[in-house]
């Protein structure tokens, strides 16, 4: 299924020529990755937007790489002319996560940054936006971090309906109530 990636290679080459120290990769059809350092991201995005016509921001995402103690930030932008998705990826320190505020480049980055600040605890210095976006009165660690255990939180906070832990065989109770017999082949699946 190897198809030619001419447009993709061209974009990768363009970015490679314009910036030093970035790694670009034409991954598959319609997709180009660019790995850059934290400081370069804003200039790459501006260059792609103004010079290459990548006018539309499709997505911004954050991934927690707990093993290597890093957050990965991904900006996905799309061009109406070439119809390619350009992924600009960068890694930031997990202990003191900070990223440049870029909501002046695209208005909707404001929303994404608010979410990532709340869910991962990544700070965007100089960013104006209400602190609370989705959660309210949240006192725990930012919930989308990998080290936040949601099941533990649930067990501490919420009630659980009885019957889930005691592992009773519901079929037997129903059989008793309705006066029916459980067939032999079904008995071997009984929990007792």
């Amino acid at each position: 299924m190897e198809t030619s990636l001419i447009k993709e290679e061209l974009l990768a080459q363009q970015l490679q020529n314009a910036f030093e120290n970035i790694v670009t990769e034409a991954v598959r059809k319609d997709t180009v990755f660019a790995y850059a350092s934290k400081e370069q991201v804003s200039s790459i995005l501006l260059y792609a937007k103004e010079k290459l016509g990548y006018k539309s921001l499709a997505h911004m995402s954050c991934i927690d790489w707990l093993e290597s103690d890093e957050f990965e930030l991904v900006y996905i932008i799309w061009s109406p002319e070439t119809k390619l998705n350009l992924f600009v990826k960068t890694r930031i320190d997990r202990q003191n996560p900070e990223m440049e505020n870029m909501d002046m480049i695209w208005r909707q980055l404001n929303t994404y940054q608010r979410e990532i600040r709340e869910m991962f605890g990544v700070e965007f210095p100089g960013f104006v936006g209400e602190k609370e976006f989705i959660l309210e009165d949240w006192e725990d660690a930012p919930p989308m971090r990998r080290d936040f255990d949601t099941l533990e939180y649930v067990n501490d906070t919420f009630f659980e309906r009885e019957g889930r832990e005691d592992k009773q065989d519901v079929r037997e109770r129903i059989a008793k109530r309705s006066g029916e017999e459980i067939p032999d082949f079904a008995k071997k699946y009984s929990r007792e």
Partner: protein, 367 residues
């Protein structure tokens, strides 16, 4: 007389709000000078839950991202996974996927008719279109087993083949609905109330549209023709003959015209899909779903839902569970930053009207 400034909280319990969200309005008289959206009432932590599920279990969560139109999230996720894995979809699978996506679009359009006209007080259209929508849901029920949530689209194809005689039922339903749409249009678009309410309200300018990240019908209502089905064709859309509805104006009226045009395109596409349905396999089967692993990598799969581009950024670390799945619904842009901008200068009575025309759907904002 000096106008007094008032703060008004619209929602979360308000019959006009499209779902469970809140808009805080700063009013001068009844003109809005500042709007702030508050979301998060429907946050279920899907993205956290997906990290705890394996790839197959994820399908049950995906359709619940967006309640009025549950199939685009499944399709976008499947596309992203197929990109990472390099899994091919059989031709019949592609057609069946497009068929389900278009049926979902049709029923969502019919729900939109109810919402858009209901917010101007034309309740008859809603009674008709939501009643007729049940016929589409019946088709879904026969095909997938569920009225609302289908879990039909899997990475690699679709879950099951169509039942016997299904094609005829689809075509019969389309004939019926096509006739009914003319009735809705007469009630809604020919109504002076709707025309006067819709024209010149909630304007998005052409220059700002791209910058604000507007997608879907609101973008095409500004005269900019972008549609994921045309730009980056997925599934069977490159083999279908359809047009984008592009209208100038950028107001509620233009967006309504786009949808009025596209619901007919949808019906024609469903007919084409049924007529050209190829035979063969419908699913490129994955290995044992409980041990199914996806190679490390990341991808962005996107489809055109009824409100605009629906995308999934999927990251895999090579294990049997997704590392990160981040959804980007059209309402994520429309419902927060865009709505705050568009509402300024509008009338208080038009808030739910504009929200309906932008397709603000809270469950996909907060997930």
């Amino acid at each position: 007389m000096r106008e007094k400034s008032t703060t008004l909280y619209l929602g979360p319990q308000h019959p006009g709000i499209t779902g469970n969200m809140m808009v805080k309005l700063q009013l001068e008289g009844d003109t809005i000078v500042k709007a702030t959206t508050h979301v998060g009432y429907l946050h279920r932590a899907f993205e956290k839950l997906i990290e705890r599920r394996n790839w197959m279990q994820t399908t049950t969560i995906l359709c619940r991202f967006c309640v009025p139109e549950p199939d685009p999230p499944e399709a976008a996720f499947a596309l992203a996974v197929e990109q990472i894995e390099g899994r091919e979809v059989p031709e019949r699978g592609k057609y069946l996927r497009s068929l389900v996506l278009e049926l979902a679009r049709l029923q969502s359009f019919m729900l939109w008719y109810a919402g858009q006209s209901g917010s101007t007080g034309l309740y008859t259209v809603g009674q008709w279109s939501v009643g007729d929508r049940n016929y589409v849901l019946d088709l879904f029920e026969e095909l997938t087993g569920g009225r609302i949530y289908h879990m039909y689209i899997w990475p690699g194809g679709v879950r099951r083949d169509i039942p016997e005689g299904f094609e005829d039922k689809v075509l019969r339903t389309m004939d019926y609905i096509e006739k009914r749409i003319d009735d809705y249009d007469r009630m809604m678009f020919d109504s002076a109330i709707f025309q006067k309410r819709a024209q010149g309200v909630g304007i998005i300018t052409k220059e700002k549209a791209m910058e604000w990240g507007v997608v879907g019908a609101p973008l095409r209502g500004c005269g900019i023709g972008h549609d994921v089905r045309k730009d980056n064709p997925y599934d069977a859309y490159d083999k279908l003959d359809f047009e984008m509805g592009i209208f100038e104006g950028g107001d509620v009226w233009a967006r309504a015209r786009v949808r009025q045009f596209e619901i007919r395109q949808t019906i024609s596409m469903i007919r084409q899909l049924i007529q050209n349905l190829p035979s063969g396999d419908y699913l490129n089967k994955m290995p044992n779903p409980m041990k199914w692993t996806i190679p490390a990598g990341s991808a962005y799969g996107k489809v055109e839902s009824v409100r605009g581009e629906f995308g999934f950024h999927v990251v895999s670390d090579g294990s049997d569970k997704p590392r990160r799945v981040h959804a980007r619904g059209p309402a994520y842009v429309h419902g927060v930053s865009l709505l705050e901008d568009v509402l300024i200068g509008q009338n208080l009575a038009d808030v739910s009207f504009i929200m309906n025309s932008l397709g603000v759907c809270p469950p996909e904002i907060e997930r």
